[in-house]
Amino acid sequence: MSFLLVQALSGLATAATLFLVSSGLTIVFGVTRIVNFAHGSFYMVGAYAGWSLIERFGGTPAGFWGSVTAAALAMGVLGAAMEIGLLRRLYRSPELFQLLGTFGVVLVVQDLTAWAWGPEDLLGRRAPGLKGSIDILDQPFPLYDLVLIGLGPLVLGLLWLLFNRTRWGTLVRAATQDREMASALGVDPARLFTGVLFLGCALAGLGGALQVPREAVTLQMDMAIVVEAFVVVVVGGMGSLAGAFLASLLIGQLQAFGILVFPQITLVLVFLFMAVVLVLRPHGLLGRAEEVPPTAPATVTVPLSTGGHTGSWALALLALLAAVPLVAGDYALILLTEVVILALFAASLHLLIGLGGLVSFGHAAWFGLGAYGSALLVKHMGAPMPLALAGAPVLAGLGALVAGWFCVRRSGLYFAMLTLAFAQIAWSIAFQWYAVTGGDNGILGVWPSSWAAGKAAYYWLTLALCGGTLWLLRRAAFAPFGYALRAGRDSGLRAESVGIDVRRFQWMAFVLAGSAAGLAGGLYAFAKGSVFPTLLAVPQSVDALVMVLMGGIQTVAGPLAGAVVFHLLKSEVMSLTDWWRLVLGLIIVALVLVFPRGIVGFLSGLRSSFVRRRA
């Protein structure tokens, strides 16, 4: 009995940290609709800043708590600076474009932190006066954790007062409910947003600084927390503080007791829980239905156009690409093969985002399933390459068929997080099912058949398959299927009133996108000769999103350009410098600021203004 009580208390201490970080995220999202990918970075830098301050001043209780507060405020200032310097310029860009900007910030912060504090893990001082433990029913329990448990509700209470008893809080709530109306009534959204970013990032920093007495500060903290914070936000219901609190409590307890019952499935427990909650409750535990799905690109003004001469341009490009092996070396061919595969991967995601208005955070699931589909066929059935390649889109398509049925019943960020949940489940299966997938050591020896073993031959094969699939995807975009999909994206209600079964079209699009990504994954497996669970992991999904957003979501060619630019940049910068994340992050931030509509969006904007001027 006493053991269970202490276990529950441990869960509460975990929940407190989780709540501090995710409350910041939910406030920022609720008001600004920004998917702040850099939230975990503020948590990490908050921990590092807290560590430095606590090392110097943390000898006394006043010094310790002063240091924690100072670190939190400093993160608030950094957050406000990010809003003024970067995000403010992106409010008129397509939704989610800010995600790309904050992703750039994540990369920059990772390298700057490593540069400033060095690579070693830092173990900070314990909180003065709270070093020991007390016995609760004969079980020792750390005092500091008790303080944390108290801090969670305290912060919730303070935030409640702030939002319900101050003018600023009222304005923030007004803006959360209806941004346009609030600004129509004379509320300066820019200042409000700066304040909200300050508050949100300060909370992340507070959560980070409070970890110093509990655990070592490391460079991996940012990614470890941000996904979990998103889970809490979505499970609780976006924008709902009480929901975030409730979700933190539940997830904290789930982790505390989950390891007793199923110590082996800790990898996926949280995501299983999120999937179940989202399947049962469309808007999380305490969230409210939104009138407009928040991430639908409702502001898209220019309809897709087939463009003149696109076909001949594409053929010319294809001919040019096909001629490359005559002049290029092996490495250039390998790089190009990867670019072509990733272009298909990005294009398949674009089918969902650009046409369907469905932002997927878990697209790597289908890429990875395709790769594993091929590899498993080779490994366990001894299948020849053509058969294994054919298996890739089939397995990925089947996976997408099942997951899609659940996912398309949700919209906006709930859809995105449900796709992420499925991707994580697929990842953990690949990671843990040793007998079949080889676990994290992957499957080796997935090399092409002898006729395609040459670099040039495999490149041509890739080019043919990807080119053909891309042509199909483009056909789909401009076929009635594509129009129906876009109708559902722009106004689901109107589309349904004219007899379009929006969900079914979205489901079909999900399967189509999944199969296309699966083919890309199968080709990737044979290009690399091995598959690993990293192919289904979060960074792979993020890469796909970055490619699509970088190119611009309003054009069919956008994701292709995004894939080319992102992959070439990354591989080139990586071979030039160890600080490639800094360089890549700065380039992304600069791109976002210079091309707020993506690269291709910018180019077509240039062209149309040129045409208009001539007319």
């Binding site: 053991f3 276990q7 441990s10 201490a13 430095s52 950094l78 600076a81 310097g85 310029r89 008129r92 860009s93 990772q110 540069w115 400033a116 504090w117 060095g118 690579p119 070693e120 893990d121 173990l123 314990r126 079980q139 020792p140 329990f141 750390p142 509990r214 070592a216 490391t218 991996q220 470890a224 505390a256 007791f257 390891i259 110590p263 800790t266 490495y331 040793y434 676990g439 994290d440 050591n441 992957g442 080796l444 090399w447 690399k528 000769g529 091995s530 690993f532 990293t534 192919l535 591989s571 990586m574 071979s575 490639w580 994340r581 700065l586 600021l593 210079v594 707020p596 203004s609 001027r613």
Partner: protein, 428 residues
């Protein structure tokens, strides 16, 4: 033109706030930490002239993914490289050149980088890697492209056994070897009830599996009463410690490391998990893991590690002196691994008298070199080096963790005989 283009604003106006943001972050970081990591000064070029064409080594590691472990490793091989070239290079005629690349912690990036090194940089040998899955991916690439590959740090048994190949050799003692070293000590303990805690991936799982199997062989009376499998990097310290304590074990076998280990130790001390219990722990004695814990480093744990300041053979003392002079910091376990890796590569090339793949592979099989930790042989049977590890007990000295009562466990004594090892490898 009345129409306003959001993209038409001058570049400078757009970039200024971004620059401001960057400047703020940079100045903040500097303000927060005045003692910033300084890069080591470049040494003067050695005044050696070479008569032959340089031999090139392609080096791959997770420099951004795990800098705490890979930067000391890089400094280790840099030191070795400088020594090699100052002494006339390889084969007595040629400069040894290293082209180093980051793999971003991803196996697919590592394979691409390996391809780039082989085709664009024309390297003759590949070396490096830290993570097991990346080591395996590069090993597979090496076999297919017939390039010699000296895997430095990956621990998985598969790289030399079940997935072994002609072109791949591994230096560091494997998971099996280190578990076997610890079992020898664990079997001497009176403890009968054991609990295990290990990160939930291949390294943790095979370490626990070997430990269980080998300990049961020596002590059929022990039982394993609890196991915890935290996610690597995400250990829920409080609940994990509590769950282990609830099983009331006599002793605990720990495989967690890095930030997880620090959390586990802190929470375990706070909750009295280690009171009257023996802890046997893999790798915990390495300075990479002990030093960050400062005066909170656990005492009395039986560990494998690297007590660099106490090893007083002349060869090791010379290594420590050179390393400390060159980098102004003490060596880590990664440093010695990096150092020996590069020395082994150079020795293999010199023995082969060639920069070609097949002679180098033949030279590596059975190659013995004198290293700061003693003689190391790459076994011809399974391509595993006999580099050992230091087994001892952790203790606190002058406010920091170190090892006492240690001995060097030579890897050769913890490997299965040649025939048995050869049987575990795929047929060539």
């Amino acid at each position: 033109m009345k129409h306003r283009h959001p993209t038409a604003s001058p570049l400078a106006k757009v970039l200024r706030p971004a620059a401001l943001f960057a400047a703020v972050s940079v100045s903040f970081c500097i303000a927060a930490n005045p003692a910033m990591a300084q890069s080591a000064p470049q040494p003067a070029k050695p005044p050696v002239t070479f008569s032959g064409a340089p031999v090139r080594v392609g080096e791959i590691n997770s420099y951004t993914g795990l800098p705490a472990f890979t930067i000391p490793y890089r400094q280790g091989w840099q030191l070795a490289l400088e020594e090699i070239n100052a002494q006339g290079g390889v084969i007595g005629c040629c400069e040894l050149q290293v082209v180093s690349r980051d793999d971003a912690g991803k196996p697919d990036d590592a394979v691409r980088v390996a391809q780039e090194l082989v085709t664009n940089e024309a390297v003759d040998v590949l070396a490096g890697t830290y993570f097991s899955h990346i080591g395996l991916a590069v090993a597979d690439f090496a076999a297919r492209n017939k390039v010699p590959f000296v895997a430095a740090e990956p621990l998985t048994d598969a790289i030399t056994w079940s997935k072994g190949n002609r072109y791949t050799f591994r230096l560091r003692p494997s998971t099996y070897m280190q578990a076997a070293m610890l079992v020898e000590e664990a079997a001497k303990l009176p403890a009968k009830r054991w609990a295990t805690v290990a990160p939930n991936y291949e390294y943790g799982q095979s370490a626990v599996a070997w430990f269980k199997q080998l300990l049961k062989e020596k002590r059929p009376d022990v039982e394993f009463v609890a196991e915890q499998w935290p996610v690597q990097g995400k250990l829920e310290a409080g609940p994990t410690v509590q769950a282990l304590a609830a099983a009331k074990p006599d002793a605990i076998f720990n495989v967690t490391f890095g930030a997880d280990l620090a959390k586990f130790v802190r929470e375990g001390e706070g909750r009295g998990l280690f009171r009257n219990r023996k802890i046997v722990s893999l790798l915990t004695g390495e300075p990479e893991y002990l030093e960050p814990m400062k005066d909170e480093a656990p005492e009395g744990w039986i560990v494998t590690g690297y007590p660099w300041e106490q090893i007083d053979t002349p060869a090791h003392k010379a290594f420590v002196a050179a390393y400390t002079a060159r980098f102004k910091e003490s060596p880590k376990a990664g440093s010695i691994v990096g150092y020996i890796t590069m020395k082994a590569v150079a020795a293999a090339i010199t023995k082969a008298k060639s920069a070609n793949a097949e002679p180098i592979v033949d030279a590596l099989a059975g190659l013995t070199i004198d290293s700061p930790v003693g003689p190391v042989t790459f076994r011809a049977s399974d391509h595993q080096a006999t580099m050992g590890a230091y087994v001892g007990t952790t203790t606190l000295k002058d406010g920091r963790g170190t090892m006492k009562d240690w001995h060097y466990a030579d890897g050769a004594n913890y490997l299965p005989p040649d025939d048995a090892a050869r049987k575990m490898r795929p047929a060539e």
